[in-house]
Symmetry: C2
Subunit: 372 residues, 2 copies
């Protein structure tokens, strides 16, 4: 049965970092994906994330790790965010540093804390089913596991990594917890179809729940230097030395995703648990994914995003994102992606949506930083 | 051999009327097709037309028939245009009224005049070959024929009407003149292929050359009321009564294309002649045609029009028209048409380029006149 004392020690962490290059020209360096409303909910993905976590941990127990440049925008979105819960990165250092620093700071402030890390820019439709999964994950984490929440695949997606489930762990209060056999990278379509048919593969939604001490222990095992840097930062964090130590330590930290530093090695040791999530989830990683979200999977539909959008479509399907109020006319274009912003226009197709990142790379190379 | 006295009586007429709806949102009510540079020549199609005709008839013998709203733009493009050679329509009335009025005015001023009517918004690559065809046409016109110049088809086009050629007319000074069997409407692809293989079909480029008296005679035969109106207008034209008579007569004139009022009935009587033109011609009627013009027929190319265009294309082909200076990124779109203007954006494909007119119709119906 659920251990309420474990949930009392729970702290939510929201790494709000990535720009979302595949969503250019909507997402920009100064307007990253988490600051957009991609669902039509009327509020940003970051605010949706907060509203989903607040009932679990309470307003005062949500920490946000973000870039210095986004501080004002984040605080404007989250007026309830307590000042000690804002962790600013001077430069992006990937997920191990971001989540590891949050763990180290919170563990120092409150030994025994259990943290759950949830991306600022994903979409989850059913909050109650999400809460149920997190509650089980917290119990499994309290038992010493590093825990992830995997998503029951709805289709043979190739844009996500997968988690291969193994035997039930039979944890009291976490009846659905399974041992993780392995983490697997984004597959090709044939492999994705096999995973779907097999039934033991879940989507990796990048959610990690663990006791802060256990997470730090695993980072120490795989990345001892990075771990030492995180402890140094945490020691100075709530002191006047913070600024100087950050300036000295943060730039030297290794960039590594938590999947590689923690999830894979811990899975190999049999200490990674997964709670299968029964809720709809999407990382809305590209425009094809946003189109699908809005069309409810109907291929012939045209999704239109943007306040005051003026769209005239003749025999066309796909998605239009309009941020200019201009008249947009589509004639006979299928699965099209049109993103219209004041200084940049993107035209592609759903099938090419993942390649939009290459546009951003090319714009960087060509010195077109004014539109990045 | 050429009859030089006939060419001395030649007058060029440029009907500068149509908006070019298939080129929306580039062409607008206040910026019709003939006021755009679609060839990359650095000047408008109207100016190109003038420069092509001036060597034939001289600057002082070119009349322009256009809408009142376009007077200033036309005069800015054509500073040499003599004031008596500007004929303003209070409302559009199709080609029989426009060309017939020019014929009636010029015949009154200069009995025996031979007129040649050439659209303001077509593209012709070789002026010398064009001049050669017109010179023959003028001779044939002087002999009493209504004369057209047909274009040797380069492909089985379905966007043009065709002229079926019959026997040689053996006119002295117009050795290539043929009798026209019939005028045929835009065919489907199978029919167009038959026409091309047959060898006796030419594209109808809408060029008509005739003695003004002969043209008026034929209008009188098929459209007596319209003819009477044109004579009434011409009688008043160079008098103080012009304004009053125009206000009274012009609105009542029948709208009918000269193909129907003159070319078809005259062909049936065996009095229509055609000079086969050996020059490259295009009516640049839609964006597919502009793309072809710029790519030299190469399918894999991307044509880019517009000063200061910033286009980043990855595995894409078609045409981009940029009038905003915005960054335009294309990823994996083939035969695409993107037209980017400050208040309206069009996205379609070459195959759908002819359907752009339906967008304009829909915008009219929906009351979106701000972008027309």
């Amino acid at each position: 049965m659920p251990d309420s004392s474990a949930l009392d020690r729970f702290y939510s962490v929201i790494p709000a970092g990535g720009i979302g290059s595949r969503l250019w020209p909507l997402s920009r360096a100064d307007a990253p994906k988490f600051l957009h409303d991609l669902t039509g909910s009327g509020q940003t993905l970051l605010r949706d994330t907060w509203d989903r976590l607040a009932p679990l941990s309470g307003d005062q127990r949500i920490m946000v790790v973000t870039g210095r440049a986004h501080r004002a925008a984040v605080e404007a979105q989250l007026p309830e965010l307590a000042d000690p819960n804002v962790v600013l990165e001077s430069e992006p250092k990937e997920s191990t540093a971001a989540i590891g620093l949050a763990a180290a700071i919170l563990q120092k402030r409150e030994p025994g804390v259990i943290i759950g890390s949830f991306a600022a820019d994903h979409v989850i439709k059913s909050a109650p089913l999400f809460h149920q999964a997190v509650r089980e994950a917290v119990v499994a984490a309290d038992a010493g596991y590093i825990v992830t929440i995997g998503i029951q695949p709805a289709e043979p997606a190739i844009a996500f990594g997968y988690i291969k489930c193994s035997r039930p762990l039979q944890i009291d209060g976490a009846p659905n917890a399974l041992s993780v056999g392995s983490f697997v990278e984004k597959p090709n379509l044939a492999t994705a179809k096999r995973y779907l048919a097999n039934g033991h593969y879940l989507w990796n939604a990048g959610m990690f729940i663990a006791r802060a001490d256990r997470l730090l222990e695993e980072i120490a095992a795989s990345e001892p230097e990075l771990h030492a840097g995180l402890l140094e930062l945490a020691d100075a964090w709530d002191t006047p030395a913070r600024g100087a130590v950050v300036d000295q330590v943060w730039p030297r930290l290794k960039k590594i995703a938590i999947d590689y530093s923690v999830a894979e090695p811990v899975a190999a040791k049999g200490k990674l648990a997964v709670i299968p999530g029964q809720f709809d989830w999407d990382d809305v990683g590209d425009f094809a994914s946003i189109a699908k979200l809005h069309s409810g999977g109907r291929k012939r539909d045209l999704a239109i995003l943007g306040e005051g959008a003026r769209v005239l479509a003749d025999s066309s399907s796909g998605i239009v994102v309009s941020h200019t109020g201009r008249m947009i006319a589509l004639v006979g274009v299928q699965d099209i992606v049109v993103v219209d912003t004041p200084d940049a226009l993107l035209v592609t197709t759903s099938a090419n949506a993942q390649k939009v990142k290459s546009v951003v790379d090319a714009l960087k190379l060509s010195g077109s930083s004014d539109v990045l």
